[in-house]
Symmetry: C2
Subunit: 184 residues, 2 copies
């Protein structure tokens, strides 16, 4: 049975993007990976059967782009209240889910077989799945940068504490890949 | 010449203490260290000649306690506008500095010789030293826990981005010790 993994890149000061969605260089390790990161990336591509993401992570326009050269064969499930009328290149097979996070996860699990399902952001989507207790593991690609301002991954005052167990630490160039199991 | 190191424990979601200063278990690795953490702790005790901290990190009462069994021989410099009238056990030799962060650092450097100076918190003190460009390295003892709410280490919207280089990653039990050099 596959796992549900929250998988995101984050700066040391907790941001997943800069102010006004500015590129904070948090995916440099992904696009030009040093050998340890290349192995992490390859593992992601192999093991992920589906990726669930919020509407803004998918893209801000109707025809969100950037998926043309996408190496993932994973099915994509996009959480939204308003599915776009047309989609960009590479996104033709994406599923837009309008009836909530449980439904998206159910559909994703049905699609993946033994492979894993990733929660790929943004912060609100991540928090919803964490709060609902639906996440098994967290993988944070921790980037050595203080971004200073922007969108935080963990910014939900009043959330219940969650205990984690570190299961893997991979040191690479420009990133440390940290994997945690959620202790339930 | 010694270095200036921001050295603090932080949860994966960026907190250095829980809500209302609740103990968030972020120093368990310190008080009951697994072997890799024991070595990190020993290194700290050996290499730190002085520790600068803010008034609230020193303690909230006049007679802040908790320093009786303190293994550090490091000189302590406490930033404050209002030095306490009397101090707790173990704190008799502490210096209360009322004329700002540069003064505290100057006094600390004069005291340490070749040893390092740690900035030991809290968040405001850390941010002031970072902003002034006075920090050489950052060591974060990253604790696998989502605390949910409390005091964040990096919570200063509008700060300029700071680029770091990861210089050391030590995996331990209940903590990952991450060391960074500030790229100037």
């Amino acid at each position: 049975m596959g796992k549900v993994i929250l998988d995101m890149a984050m700066s040391l000061d907790g941001f997943i993007s800069g102010l006004n969605n500015a590129d904070a260089g948090l995916y440099d390790w992904y696009f030009a990976p040093a050998p340890p990161s290349a192995r992490v990336k390859e593992e992601l591509i192999k093991t992920l059967g589906a990726i669930i993401m919020g509407r803004r992570t998918y893209g801000t326009g109707d025809e969100a782009n950037g998926f043309e050269d996408d190496p993932y064969t994973a099915a994509r499930f996009i959480l939204t209240h308003h599915p776009p009328e047309k989609v960009g290149k590479g996104a033709e097979s994406f599923t837009f889910v309008t009836d909530g996070i449980e439904s998206a996860l159910r559909q994703a699990k049905a699609a993946v077989g033994e492979r894993d399902v990733a929660i790929g952001g943004g912060a609100n989507t991540a928090q919803q799945y964490l709060k609902a207790g639906l996440v098994d593991e967290i993988q944070i690609h921790l980037v050595p940068r203080l971004v200073g301002d922007g969108i935080r991954l963990f910014d939900h005052p009043g959330s219940e504490p969650i205990t984690l167990e570190t299961t893997r630490v991979i040191e690479s160039v420009g990133v440390t890949h940290l994997k945690y199991r959620i202790v339930k």
